[in-house]
């Protein structure tokens, strides 16, 4: 990626905007990102933010365990109710290629 400017949060993958249900941290991070649009003076600026994840996590993350799911080429729903709702709205051909 080559964004015009970016902030960096040193958090576990899947938490880039802050810990779940920590709105004050999320607001601070989003605010910092938007502010950078006004303060960056040149393209390519990456501004690390000072927020620290509330508990140790890097040792585990650095084990780099691959938990990727198989490369399914059909829609993958969070749960079955979502699949049913999508079928009701969009039809089985679109919402569920293998039902």
């Amino acid at each position: 990626m080559n964004p015009p400017r970016a902030v960096f949060t040193d958090f576990p993958l899947g938490n880039i905007c802050g810990p779940p249900n920590d709105r004050s941290t999320q607001l601070a991070i989003v605010g910092s990102a938007l502010d950078l649009a006004y303060t960056a003076e040149a393209p390519g600026v990456i501004s690390p933010l000072s927020h620290v994840w509330p508990k140790p996590w890097k040792d585990e993350a650095r084990q780099l365990i691959d938990k990727r799911t198989p490369r399914n080429d059909t829609p993958q729903y969070q749960n079955e109710a979502d699949r049913a709702a999508a079928i009701a709205n969009h039809g089985e051909d679109v919402a569920c290629a293998v039902c």
């Binding site: 015009p4 993958l13 899947g14 880039i16 905007c17 989003v30 780099l64 799911t69 490369r71 999508a86």
Partner: protein, 166 residues
């Protein structure tokens, strides 16, 4: 880049390299963008600006079609007034425990709505644009998904785009 030298980041990229090789492909060739990104200073203060949220991470709205887990080049449009409880997520490559507990961990829609309520942000685009990410083909990304996102962003008449990768 100098700024990056102080960052003690976890090298998640190695997972992609290994995963890609296991699929039988040649070593992954990362995108290289030697030219500086387009750089435009905002013309209006944030409190008068319309912001569009563009996020990878696999978010969709309840009742809509989820993404596939294989190079999905489509995007979803989530109406900006969608209740947080109707947001869903499905992604092949990251732990979604936080995203399911609170979508704002990777899709800061409530944070942005709070900033509008507080007068810090002028307004939000009518929809947020979401996609899966983790698409291995640069060419297909650049030929298909990115032009669609750019076109919609222009149509939404946003002043600022907040891009949130995972």
């Amino acid at each position: 880049m100098d700024e990056e030298s102080d960052i003690d980041a976890v090298d998640y990229i190695q997972i992609t390299r290994d995963s890609y090789s296991r699929l039988g492909f040649d070593p992954y060739r990362w995108a290289s963008n030697p030219e500086p990104a387009a750089f435009v200073k905002p013309s209006k203060p944030l409190s008068e600006s319309k912001v569009v949220l563009i996020a990878s991470g696999g978010f969709y709205r309840f009742g809509d079609v989820a993404f596939t887990h294989k190079d999905d080049l489509t995007h979803r449009e989530i109406p900006i007034d969608t209740p947080t409880t109707e947001l869903r997520v499905s992604h092949f490559a990251y732990d979604q425990t936080s995203a399911k507990a609170d979508p704002n961990s990777v899709f800061p829609i409530d944070a942005l709505r709070d900033m509008v309520s507080a007068g810090e942000v002028g307004s939000l685009a009518d929809v947020a644009l979401t996609f899966m990410g983790g698409i291995y083909s640069q060419r297909r990304l650049q030929d298909t998904l990115v032009p669609a996102l750019v076109e919609r962003t222009r149509e939404l008449d946003a002043d600022l785009a907040l891009l949130v990768p995972v």
